[in-house]
């Protein structure tokens, strides 16, 4: 078993999204990607964003990360206005975004090397601990292209967790994986979340996945992107994605989602 006490997390963050709007201007027209979106995310909460394609989930995540600037409104992390990316809010992208010029270990060390307060041994220790956490300690010196898609996402998870961010933002991290690998990764994520208590925002297309992982599922609708409905998922953890209780929650979310798709088309 892995000794999680060494990896005990520092405090996670409270996130406030306050009246955020975003427009994208292209040569042909202007897309209203987000319209007055407000969210309160508690410390250590696991929130899932679902919604049809193009409803602004990735845009919202980028704005929370500080990678994109909102046109209106603001984002607060721990009562501080988010003005740019910072290493307290790490992002895990749909493709792994691992650096091909570094080994697996080098990738996990990348964020750690930017923390001046750590010694070299500390960094190596933390990196190895995190590779162990995702079950890839044997692949520390492998090259990125030698890993499978699921392994890459696990390395990306280790890389995001190693610098001990307060917030983890995940944009469809499991979209490219097969069902079995995905279920494994659900297990990993739940286990890590239980022990590390990060604030997590996860974007997904998969309603079941959202109900399996989230404390709360936030449903968004497109044109313009808005928050339409929120579902609290009060199921005991660890959750099994195939359980019946979970399925009933998922059904509720799905029917709401379909409702917005239909009404969206009529508008």
């Amino acid at each position: 078993m892995i000794d999680h006490s060494k990896l005990q997390a520092t405090a996670s963050a409270k996130l406030v999204v306050d009246g955020v709007s975003k427009w994208f201007r292209t040569a042909r027209d202007t897309v209203h990607a987000l319209d007055n979106v407000s969210l309160d995310i508690a410390e250590g909460e696991f929130v899932c964003l679902v919604g049809p394609s193009g409803c602004g989930k990735s845009t919202l995540l980028d704005i929370i990360a500080g990678l994109t600037k909102p046109d209106q409104g603001r984002v607060l992390a721990d009562d501080q206005i988010v003005a740019g990316p910072g290493r307290h809010r790490l992002v895990m992208f749909q493709e792994s975004a691992l650096f091909p010029w570094l080994t697996v270990l080098g990738n996990v060390l990348f964020g750690l090397k930017l923390k001046q307060e750590l010694s070299k041994q500390d960094r190596l220790q933390i990196a190895h601990d995190h590779l162990k956490l995702v079950g890839l300690e044997k692949f520390a010196h492998a090259n990125v292209h030698e890993l499978s898609g699921g392994m890459k996402q696990r390395v990306a998870l280790a890389r995001s967790l190693a610098p001990d961010p307060r917030v983890l933002l995940m944009d469809e991290p499991m979209a490219a994986l097969d069902a079995l690998t995905r279920e494994q990764l659900y297990g990993d994520i739940q286990r890590i979340w239980e022990t590390r208590r990060k604030t997590i925002v996860l974007v997904t297309h998969n309603v079941r996945e959202a109900c399996c992982l989230g404390d709360r599922v936030i449903l968004m609708s497109p044109h313009p992107g808005r928050v339409r409905e929120q579902f609290r998922i009060d199921l005991p953890r660890p959750r099994d994605i195939n359980s019946i209780e979970l399925a009933s929650h998922a059904r509720a979310v799905t029917s709401a989602l379909k409702g917005y798709l239909v009404s969206g088309a009529e508008e």
């Binding site: 990360a65 500080g66 990678l67 740019g84 990316p85 910072g86 290493r87 809010r89 790490l90 992002v91 992208f93 493709e95 975004a97 650096f99 091909p100 010029w101 570094l102 080994t103 990348f110 964020g111 930017l114 923390k115 090259n143 990125v144 292209h145 030698e146 890389r159 610098p163």
Partner: protein
């Protein structure tokens, strides 16, 4: 091992064809000397020191000119890749200049600098600079923005982002740009040495030129062989290690595996 054998057999075969062509007697030995007389010339030139001296003179010019071209081309390419203004100005200039064969710089270099080392270097730098600049620009442009985004969320910015993310990410393009730059430098230096006679140093190009003046075909062919061998050796020594590194890390070029 078998690769070495294949290579050796192939080149021995070429030598044999050459020798047979000479022995057939269809061409005058003045125009087509045999491998033996070329070897004899090379041996003589090697033992009396002309060959090594010419090689040193040529390599010095090449390395200095290539070095200057790289030192200018790499940062300028980075500049054009990040700024629309420099792309529209310097980038367009580079595109135009790259289409100009480097021999075309020789008249200008002669008028500006006279028959000097500077003229020589100028031609080599002009041959290298633009292609390195364009390759670097293309490289930095084609890297996936997701790398920079991931790095920024981990706290990387400014110089750190350049040295740890953008340059390593564009390494495959940089290497091929440097390789292309090398080829251009080599070609332009040979052109310059053949056309420009200067007294500060006799390079391989000059030996080639005087070979023609003296109708010494064995010298012409011998020096051409030396030029080919140097080009091959440079490729193996300068670029192969990098390409192997790329192959291992990126997993590219697996078809040649």
């Amino acid at each position: 091992m078998s690769r070495a054998i294949h290579g050796t057999l192939f080149f021995l075969g070429l030598l044999a064809v050459w020798q047979l062509a000479v022995m057939s007697g269809r061409w005058s030995p003045v125009l087509l000397p045999g491998p033996y007389s070329v070897g004899e010339y090379l041996w003589g030139a090697a033992t009396d020191g002309t060959l090594s001296e010419a090689c040193i003179v040529t390599m010095r010019r090449l390395l200095i000119g290539y070095g200057i071209g790289l030192l200018l081309g790499l940062p300028l390419g980075m500049l054009t890749s990040t700024s629309q203004f420099f792309q529209d100005t310097l980038g367009s200039l580079a595109l135009g200049m790259q289409t100009l064969p480097s021999v075309c710089w020789i008249p200008l270099a002669l008028l500006w600098f006279g028959q000097t080392e500077t003229a020589m270097l100028f031609v080599v730098v002009m041959g290298t600079l633009w292609s390195v600049l364009i390759a670097t620009d293309t490289g930095a442009r084609s890297i996936s923005p997701i790398y920079a985004r991931a790095a920024r969320t981990m706290g990387s910015e400014g110089l750190h982002q350049w040295t740890r993310v953008i340059i390593p990410a564009s390494l495959p393009y940089l290497i091929s740009g440097m390789k292309q730059g090398w080829a251009f430098a080599w070609r332009s230096l040979m052109a310059a040495e053949i056309y420009v006679t200067i007294l500060t140093g006799f390079g391989l190009g000059h030996l080639l030129h005087y070979g023609r003046e003296l109708s010494a075909m064995d010298q012409v062919i011998g020096i051409m062989l030396v030029i080919v061998v140097i080009g091959l050796a440079a490729d193996k020594l300068l670029f192969s290690p990098w390409e192997r590194f790329l192959h291992r890390r990126w997993g590219t070029g697996l078809l040649q595996g």
